[in-house]
């Protein structure tokens, strides 16, 4: 059982999805499988992380075919951390969806798609094979496309269309890159690629090929100038769907970038990683400026995802152990915080029936506890100490200063001020400002506020507590991220874990 631990995060959602499908007619059972399956997923990933932490990198050769012939599933610390995050988000969103997603969508397979989406996400994090990663990307893309479109409102269809078209371009480039790479190196196993490319006689061609992966994953991660699909689509589906997307989808792209640009494409780091750095800076700026121009809750948040991606890839671009540590820490922090903000936006949407900041207001007066639950992730996102986002940014800034990359440091700091600006905009407009539809002195029309229900608030509370924990107990998380970065910077252990044959 233990030896199969790295496969569980893929198998559990697959089975949960399949079983849910069997109970197509019973929403009740599907909900319970939703919560139970994602709960199991979370447990399995936690177990995986602790096992990887204790014994080192784990690998499973699928079908018993030793690498590089077969496909290897491999969990190093970075993968395991990402899987745990997928577990947390999956679980919280599944609980939230109970009432957070309307029954009509639930009765047309919402939970099935959610499970399969999680399977694709975990598969991408855990695979050690570049083509297999492509397959997981496809799984993810199909599941997410249906989730975006499910419900079929005109706005959703428009968003879904852009989403799927641009992501297919990414898939095509990814596939083309894999094809040519296979033609050159003759292998698909990432560890094997790393070994063989280290001896390559023609690094220039490999660097050229790496551009395909940079663009393909850059689209997935929503980097500049490839991010268009994200702000076009994230505000259209139900908030629970946006939340799981916001937490996980782009981060799969970031994960893939970090993986291939630390393991495979390290022939010409001065060129490739500086390129990533420049793109990161522009990603931060464009995203945050985009957010400044928006006036709808989830649109603001969506542009901020773009902006934040820049920080995560900045750590990759700086390419030092500290910077990668900061990146891993940043991803951890961001997934929790961003999902939470979308969940809060969902509660507000459900209460007031709109996410338009011009129509919102007065929540601070009527819902002080919800206000606090918004403030924790919002302030953390803006990087205010001592919340998680502060330490994430601090790590990057220190790493940048040590490498004397002053431009990117200045950009990162400036963008964090603008992020604060955006978060205060949300705060001032939705919470502080008096409700525009209530005349002064009049009582609040509480009747149209649907009562907040526990299953929607509880996930928000849990995620907020995690944010606080990451901030106050930053050392634990930083330490873990540091060891993950160590494995990334020196892939020897990873290669050994994949290449050793298990009988």
């Amino acid at each position: 059982m233990l030896s199969l631990l790295p496969v569980l995060p893929i198998v559990i959602p697959l089975l949960s999805g399949a079983i849910s499908l069997l109970f197509w007619r019973s929403l009740w059972i599907q909900r319970w499988i939703g919560v139970g399956g994602t709960g199991l997923l979370l447990l399995s990933t936690l177990r995986l992380l602790s096992e990887v932490e204790r014994t080192g990198i784990l690998s499973v050769q699928i079908g018993g075919w030793a690498a590089p012939v077969g496909i290897t599933i491999v969990a190093d610390l970075f993968s395991a951390i990402m899987a745990v995050l997928a577990g947390i988000i999956g679980f919280c969103v599944a609980v939230y969806s109970w009432y957070g997603v309307d029954e009509r969508r639930q009765s047309y397979g919402y939970f099935v798609f959610l499970h399969v989406l999680l399977m694709g996400v975990c598969g991408s994090f855990l695979t050690g094979d570049i083509f297999n990663m492509y397959v997981w990307f496809e799984v993810m893309l199909m599941a997410s496309f249906v989730l975006v479109a499910l419900g079929g409102t005109p706005m959703q269809m428009e968003g879904a269309f852009k989403y799927v078209t641009l992501n297919l371009v990414s898939s095509a480039l990814f596939l083309a890159g894999i094809g040519i790479l296979y033609g050159v190196v003759g292998t698909l196993n990432m560890a094997d690629l790393s070994v063989k490319l280290a001896q390559t006689a023609d690094p220039g061609l490999v660097t050229t090929l790496s551009m395909f992966f940079l663009i393909a994953f850059g689209i997935k991660a929503a980097m500049f100038p490839l991010f268009f699909w994200l702000p076009s689509s994230y505000h259209t589906p139900p908030p629970a769907v946006s939340a799981v997307f916001a937490g996980l989808l782009t981060k799969v792209g970031v994960y893939a970038l970090i993986r291939v640009f630390t393991l495979i494409f390290v022939q010409d780091v001065v060129y490739t990683h500086n390129l990533i750095l420049i793109m990161s800076g522009l990603t931060m700026l464009c995203g945050v400026l985009g957010a400044a121009a928006q006036f709808e809750f989830r649109r603001v948040l969506s542009f901020h995802i773009v902006s934040q991606i820049g920080y995560m890839t900045m750590g990759l671009g700086l390419n030092s152990r500290l910077s990668l540590t900061a990146s891993v820490f940043y991803i951890t922090h961001h997934i929790i915080v961003k999902t939470n903000l979308f969940l809060v936006s969902g509660v507000i949407q459900k209460m007031r029936g709109t996410g338009d900041l011009k129509k919102l207001g007065g929540l601070y007066k009527t819902h002080p506890s919800l206000s606090v639950l918004f403030l924790i992730p919002a302030m953390s996102l803006a990087g205010l100490p001592p919340l998680s986002g502060f330490f994430a940014k601090l790590g990057l800034v220190i790493a940048g200063l040590r490498l004397e990359q002053y431009c990117i440091v200045a950009t990162a700091l400036f963008v964090s001020l603008l992020t604060l600006f955006s978060m205060t905009k949300l705060w001032a407009e939705a919470f502080w400002k008096p409700r525009p539809d209530v005349a002064e002195g009049e009582d609040e029309p509480r009747s149209d506020d649907e009562p907040m229900c526990l299953t929607m608030i509880l996930p928000i509370l849990v995620l907020a507590l995690i944010t606080l924990t990451i901030g106050i107990g930053a050392e634990t998380f930083f330490n873990l991220a540091d060891r993950a970065a160590g494995q990334l910077m020196d892939p020897t252990e990873y290669i050994e874990a994949v290449m050793r044959t298990r009988s």
């Binding site: 480039l173 050159v184 050229t208 551009m211 663009i215 200063l401 205060t424 050392e475």
Partner: protein, 738 residues
């Protein structure tokens, strides 16, 4: 509410004897050792002085707020913010670690945001809160970078250890950038010109918060930082020039703008700006006398300014008037308040025997000893001194004398919890003035020692014998009274100056914000245009340019393998495929395009067949056929095909497509040339029969070697089927808004 600050005061006074004797108490808890972040508390003379001011005034403010906001529904929230602020502020002055300092620093900014915006339903309050947050936040982030650079060049993040490396730091090439960045933080926080404009606007906060944050404590965080950094960064020409220039300008601008205001809190706010400038200037001058003057002024200012703010709050609370022109003759109705106001105003004006007088004497004295700079320094400080007396009289004396405007109606004295705090503050001004020995050796000289690094003799007192400073003092008192009497003329005379200052600062901030928003909208409209074709264009263009550039600049020469003799049937196949592709592009109907694309697909299938992959060829043929049939079915229900794009656009798209095709072709051919390691397919073929028991290696790969890929793809297909079903069946309800 006041219990916590009071107990902090008591706790602090326990340590008073040790800090007075020059000891430094330390306590250190590692927090994030990976980033060298420690919660290290240090208590020396300077920390003690600030900590006592913060907690002592904090206690009074807490009492006052209880009365001032007695029937406010959000009093609890206010108290929470106020206490959080106090703890954060104590953190700033007690920590030894640069990053922890920054953390507390930011916490004071954010609590200040909530306090300024406390009246959150007023737009003005929300805007002022945001402005203060952005201005101090910008400075704060610059400061963070500066502190981190300082940590790098000094080799540690602990201030007490940096002091030892001061010489090394000041010689580093990174000294000036670090200094400028740190000053950006200190200057924005302490409202130095031209960043001062947020402070008068911050007066939107409830008065207890204004008195506490924006007069007595938070705005002095910058001053504290400068004092703290003096042994590390101070003593250089840069330090001297920047601090005295910005400080001096702020001192004058604040006083000159402040004198012509008529709203209570605005007069006080500008005079606070001026006072902060004075402090910065004195620290920049850096002589023993200047440092002594700075510490005296710090205490004097906190006492009288805090009191005057509280008085302004009482007047507002009891009469509803915020403007000095609307009130008068209140002494009878508000006797206790009037007493506090009078004492504080006199202290502000530097009238003996109040503590403000001692501070002013020290200020004049230190200006007189500035050598070359003595004349401008004296002119500046005396002008400021005159205006201080004028402002003090305007706020603290004018409203209580003269005739009472009839529209005021009945005015009753405030609750004791409101008049007691300002009276205590003003009374302390008097006490320290008469008995300056009370704080001279316990608080002031230990604080000075922390700033300059050594202890020097001080001699405070009201009477220093006849000196030039005394002459100046008498002159400025006389002029101050004159200014008060001729205030109407002065208001008129200073009006253009006020406008110029606003144009240069606050208006610039507004313009910056407007431009930033306009730029944000412009760039977002440009990039996120809403047109899918633009998105695709940008993505393909980036792909082509990045890849081509990399290919040209990085990849060395590679030979295109044209040495293989072309075979006739291959040539024919390629020709057919190319022809079909070109024709597909120029087809006028969808059906035609699909059909010609089908030809391309069949051609590819034939190529597979000729290279010995019949399975692949079969699959390809099936897929092509199915695709064409499905397309035809779908196309049937679509509207007719119309051309919407212009010729130019089509040309552009054609160029992009051709370039992309050319790029792919080049890469594929290049890849053929540099096969540099044996492919695993040979290994697969070898293992296929003996180990996987399958003769058809493609099948074995699909279902065995790479079975999990197939499983994934099956999942994709099932999902697609399920998705199509769900999307077809689940149509939006009419009124659904999601």
């Amino acid at each position: 509410m006041a219990l916590m600050p009071i107990s902090i005061v008591l706790l602090l006074s326990n340590f008073l004897s040790s800090t007075a004797s020059g000891q430094m108490l330390q306590l250190s808890i590692p927090w994030v050792p990976s980033l060298e972040i420690e919660i290290s508390l240090v208590m020396d003379g300077l920390s003690m002085l600030f900590a006592l001011l913060i907690s002592g005034i904090g206690a009074l403010i807490a009492i006052y707020a209880g009365g001032y906001l007695a029937d406010h529904p959000q009093l609890n929230r206010f108290n929470l913010y106020l206490l959080s602020f106090m703890l954060a502020m104590l953190g700033v002055v007690l920590t030894d670690n640069l990053i922890t300092l920054f953390i507390f620093w930011e916490l004071t900014s954010i609590t200040s945001y909530f306090l300024i915006g406390f009246d959150h339903e007023k737009e003005e309050a929300r805007k002022a809160a945001l402005q203060a947050l952005l201005v101090t936040g910008l400075g704060g982030l610059a400061m963070l970078a500066g502190l981190l650079i300082l940590g790098e060049i000094g080799g540690t993040l602990e201030i007490s250890e940096l002091v030892a490396n001061g010489v090394l730091i000041r010689r580093s090439p990174l000294y000036v950038p670090a200094l400028l960045l740190i000053l950006a933080g200190a200057f924005t926080k302490s409202a130095q010109f031209p960043f001062h404009f947020w402070l008068p606007n911050a007066m939107a906060a409830p008065t207890p918060a204004s008195a506490y944050l924006h007069a007595a404590t938070m705005v002095k965080a910058g001053v504290y930082l400068l004092a703290r950094m003096n042994p590390i960064l101070g003593g250089t020409t840069w330090w001297f020039a920047l601090l005295s220039l910005f400080g001096g300008t702020t001192m004058l601008v604040g006083a000159l703008v402040g004198i012509r205001q008529t709203v209570f809190k605005r007069i006080l706010a500008f005079s606070t700006v001026s006072g902060l400038g004075t402090l910065v200037m004195l620290i920049g001058l850096g002589t023993d006398q200047a440092v002594q003057a700075a510490m005296l002024f710090l205490v004097a200012h906190a006492l009288y300014k805090g009191a005057l703010f509280l008085v302004a709050g009482i007047v507002d609370h009891q009469t509803g008037k915020k403007d000095i022109l609307q009130v008068g003759g209140l002494a009878g109705a508000l006797p206790m308040t009037a007493m506090a106001a009078g004492l504080a105003a006199l202290s502000m004006g530097g009238i003996p025997p109040l503590f403000g007088f001692i501070a002013k004497e020290a200020l004049y004295e230190s200006a007189l000893h500035m050598g070359y700079f003595a004349i401008p320094a004296v002119v500046a400080v005396v002008t400021t001194g005159i205006l201080y007396l004028g402002m003090g009289l305007l706020v603290g004396v004018g409203p209580f004398l003269g005739a009472r405007p009839s529209e005021l109606g009945r005015v009753r004295e405030a609750h004791w919890s409101m008049w007691m705090p300002p009276l205590v503050l003003a009374g302390t001004s008097l006490l320290f003035g008469v008995r300056s020995g009370l704080i001279e050796h316990t608080l002031l000289s230990p604080a000075m020692k922390s700033i300059v690094g050594y202890r020097f003799p001080t001699h405070l007192g009201l009477w220093h014998g006849f000196s030039f400073a005394l002459v100046l003092s008498l002159f400025s008192m006389a002029m101050g009274v004159y200014v008060y009497l001729r205030i109407e003329d002065i208001r008129r005379a200073f009006r253009p100056f006020d406008e110029i200052v606003h144009e240069f600062t606050g208006a610039n901030y507004d313009r910056c914000m407007t431009n930033l928003m306009a730029f944000a909208r412009w760039q977002t409209d440009l990039l996120q245009s809403g047109y899918l074709k633009n998105y695709l264009l940008i993505i393909f263009a980036s792909t082509i340019s990045l890849t081509t550039y990399t290919l040209v600049s990085r990849a060395g020469s590679f030979s295109l393998p044209f040495d293989l003799p072309p075979v006739l049937h291959e040539v024919i196949l390629v020709a057919v495929i190319l022809a079909a592709t070109v024709s597909a592009v120029f087809q006028k109907s969808r059906l035609g395009a699909i059909a010609t694309l089908g030809i391309v697909g069949y051609g590819v299938a034939l190529i597979f067949a000729t290279f010995g992959a019949p399975d692949l060829a079969m699959t390809q043929l099936l897929i092509e056929t199915l695709t064409v049939i499905l397309f035809v079915l779908v196309l049937y229900s679509l509207p007719g095909f119309t051309r919407l794009s212009s010729k130019g656009h089509r040309f552009r798209d054609a160029v992009i497509s051709i370039m992309f095709g050319a790029l792919m072709t080049t890469l594929v051919i290049a890849a053929l040339d540099v096969q540099f390691s044996p492919s695993i397919s040979a290994e697969m073929a070898r293992k296929s029969y003996p180990e996987a028991h399958g003769r058809n290696v493609v099948n074995v790969i699909l279902v065995d070697f790479r079975g999990i890929d197939t499983m994934g793809e099956i999942t994709v297909l099932s999902l697609a089927a399920l998705g199509v079903f769900a999307l077809m069946k689940l149509r939006p309800e009419k009124e659904e808004e999601v």
